[in-house]
């Protein structure tokens, strides 16, 4: 299995960080992948331009859920400006599985990032080219 999904991805899937919802989020957004039914919702609490807290919920494959867990770990505590700079390359590096050659799985991995971008920029119709 290790050569299938590396161990830390499986760990994030089985024991996700920041799973759940915030009672009073500053901003929330839910993204869907219609191809496979994956769903990721992000709740962000922003105070003084800092992402004080972040939670995710949803359902889907290992990649989509582990990616959301990894993303929330990375974003928590960052300034909004720093969070905006966190992009595809940074997330994929943290996931650590070569997904570039698998466009279908890439969408799974980037679902949480898309939700984050919508939260931070407040635009629900970000074009795919802009975030992927």
């Amino acid at each position: 299995m290790q050569d299938f999904y590396c161990e830390h991805v499986l760990e994030h899937f089985k024991y996700p960080s920041n799973y759940g919802a915030l009672d009073h989020p500053t901003v929330s957004h839910e993204e869907h992948n219609p191809l496979c039914g994956d769903r990721i919702r992000l709740d962000l609490l922003i105070e003084n331009d800092i992402v004080k807290d972040i939670r995710f919920s949803g359902q889907g494959c290992v990649i989509s859920q582990a990616s959301a867990s990894i993303l929330t770990d990375e974003i928590k505590g960052k300034t909004v400006e720093a969070a905006k700079l966190f992009g595809k390359a940074e997330l994929l590096e943290q996931i650590g599985i070569p997904l570039e050659k698998s466009p279908v799985r890439l969408k799974c991995a980037l679902l949480s990032l898309k939700a984050l971008k919508v939260c931070l920029y407040g635009v629900a119709d970000i074009l795919e080219e802009e975030w992927s």
């Binding site: 999904y5 219609p34 496979c36 039914g37 359902q59 494959c61 290992v62 279908v104 799985r105």
Partner: protein
Amino acid sequence: MVATETFPIFDVLAIRRDFPILHQEVNQFLVAFLDSGASSQRPRQVIECLEDYYRRYHANVHRGVYKFSEEATFAYERARGKVARFVGATSPREIVFTRNATEAINLVAYAWGRANVKAGDRILLTIMEHHSNLVPWQMLAQQTGAHLDYLTIDGQGRLVLDDLDRLLTEQTRLVALTHQSNVLGTINPVSEIAQRAHAVGALMLVDGAQSVPHMPTQVRDLGIDFLAFSGHKMCGPTGIGALWARRDLLEAMPPFLGGGSMIKVVELEQSTYADIPARFEAGTPAIAEAIALGEAIDYLSNIGLDTIHHHEHMLLQYALEQLSQVPGLRIHGPTSAEERGAAISFSLEKVHPHDIAAFLDSQGVAVRAGHHCTQPLHRVLQVPATTRASFYLYNIPEEIDRLVAGLVKVKQLLG
């Protein structure tokens, strides 16, 4: 475990030797290709046929008076004849080459639909339709003000035919349904529904994308009016499919796409259109692909569709038996092999279809994961996505053993 030798119907290992792609390794395993429902593989005969055309006699059809063009035209029209015989058409003129089943259905929706369907009319579909036999009718309904009705399914994935009395009305112009569900595997009682449709004056279109490759299909016996199917699911190339339509219907239909080849006389303000089937084949067609589809039909016919169906049926029985022993696995669609074809979709408790498919890929087993272009059906099944294994003439029981072993393993790891 059942060995291939106990499948004495035909020499499947000899068949496999015809398919170069099946002898490749994927992730250090010999590939087990269980996704023919999405697109089948091609035997060397079909691949060589394509190459032979391009190397030896490529030219545009129905135009030149030189040797290449005449030979290409002859081969293209001979392929039309093969398709016609394959589905039991009365004449090759009843066969229109299209890109695929989707385009064939769109052709009927545009050409026949816009001339015959008006506000208040009804079109009867089923909840198990592939998007290709659903969206074109939605578009037609939106443009004309017609209504769509849907037959639903029971817990075993069979159409609820009791609803036919209620849903087939004097306003119903067309019943459009799949012969075999690409997800549930259910084989629908096409003849019976066609009779019921005709009794209220409706026409009957059958999406044969999942049935024509796998079982003998004779349009006269089925008593239908339109049949759409794709070449790439029956050992032919991509980019070629066909529409069969009853000749009188085709004769009465206005054109679909406008352009070269589909006209008789073109003036500045108007044109007269070619006879069938050319009226529906505007522009340079997929010549090589049509000829190679004819070759694929020869290949399948030499083995025999009955034989192929029987082989698949044995694989299906074995797969149903083995899959039912996987803990937490739920098969969608009929559990009896008698009511279904060799495409099996399933859910594995707590394991997402993408993870199943990705894990099986790591073991060299190719299956499909997703909604299989049937979102309304998946809503009825109450699952966002499923995993599907589908079989064809070249599959062997050992591949099913590998599928099952992979499922047991991925369940242990992720479930």
